[in-house]
C-alpha cells in the first residue's frame, strides 16, 4: 500500500497565482485532513472531510478551498496565492478514532 501520497513535494508560486495540492490515500479512510506547518507554530488544520462529498473548515481555512468527490482524493486549492501561505502542507487520513497517516508534505513558497 502506498498510504497517503501528496504531490508536488516542492513548489514556488508568484503572488496571485493559483495551484492545487493533490492528496490521495489507498486505505479507504473516510476522514481526510489538510494541515499547514509554520515554523515554531505546530500544525494548524485548514480543512477536513468526513467522507466523499462532505467537507468542513478547520482553524485556518481562509484562502483555501477543498473538494472530496471520491473517498481516495482530497485536493487543496489555493486560488490567489499570498506570501502568508508560504508553509509546509501536510495531508493526512484516518479511520474514525484511529491514528493519522500523514503524507510526506509539500513545501510551498509564495514570492
Amino acid at each position: 500500500n502506498a498510504g497517503v501520497t501528496q504531490t508536488p513535494k516542492f513548489r514556488i508560486l508568484k503572488i496571485g497565482q493559483s495551484m492545487t495540492l493533490q492528496c490521495t490515500q489507498d486505505m479507504n479512510h473516510n476522514y481526510m485532513y489538510w494541515y499547514r506547518q509554520d515554523p515554531g507554530m505546530g500544525l494548524k488544520l485548514i480543512y477536513y472531510s468526513v467522507g466523499a462529498g462532505i467537507t468542513d473548515k478547520g482553524e485556518v481555512p481562509n484562502g483555501y478551498n477543498v473538494s472530496r468527490s471520491t473517498t481516495e482524493d482530497f485536493p487543496l486549492r489555493l486560488e490567489l496565492a499570498a506570501p502568508s501561505q508560504t508553509s509546509v502542507y501536510f495531508c493526512a487520513s484516518n479511520a474514525l478514532g484511529e491514528k493519522l497517516f500523514f503524507g510526506s508534505g509539500t513545501q510551498l513558497s509564495v514570492l
Binding site: 515554531g40 505546530g42 488544520l45 493526512a92 478514532g97 493519522l100 500523514f102 508534505g105
Partner: protein, 105 residues
C-alpha cells in the same frame, strides 16, 4: 474550544537522562489524546495514544484529567529519540506547537 499547549519549544537532554515533554489540553468533552513524532526527513507518525495505555520505544504518557495533562516521559533518553514531538487532541485533531527534542551524547 479545544486547545493543546506544549510549553517547551526546545528540550535538550543528555543520553541516559530522563526526558519529559509537557502537554496540557482544554476540552469540554472526554478527551482522546495522542503523541506524534517526526524524525528528521521522515513523516509524522503516531508514537502512542492514551487509550491504548502502552509503552512505545520506552515512552509512556498518562492522561491526568484533574490537571488536564498528557505528559510524555522516558526514563533514559537515547540519541535516536531526537525528533519533533507533537501532542494532539482528538476532535478535529488539534495539535500543539511541538517540542523539538535533542539528545546529546
Amino acid at each position: 474550544a479545544q486547545r493543546v499547549t506544549q510549553p517547551e519549544k526546545l528540550l535538550s537532554v543528555f543520553k541516559g537522562a530522563p526526558v519529559e515533554l509537557k502537554c496540557n489540553y482544554s476540552y469540554s468533552g472526554s478527551p482522546e489524546l495522542f503523541w506524534y513524532v517526526q524524525y528528521s526527513r521522515q513523516r509524522l507518525q503516531l508514537l502512542l495514544r492514551h487509550i491504548s495505555r502502552e509503552s512505545i520505544k520506552g515512552f509512556t504518557a498518562d492522561l491526568n484529567k484533574g490537571e488536564t495533562s498528557f505528559h510524555l516521559k522516558k526514563p533514559f533518553a537515547q540519541e535516536e529519540d531526537s525528533a519533533m514531538y507533537y501532542c494532539a487532541l482528538d476532535y478535529k485533531l488539534s495539535f500543539g506547537a511541538g517540542t523539538t527534542v535533542t539528545v546529546r551524547a
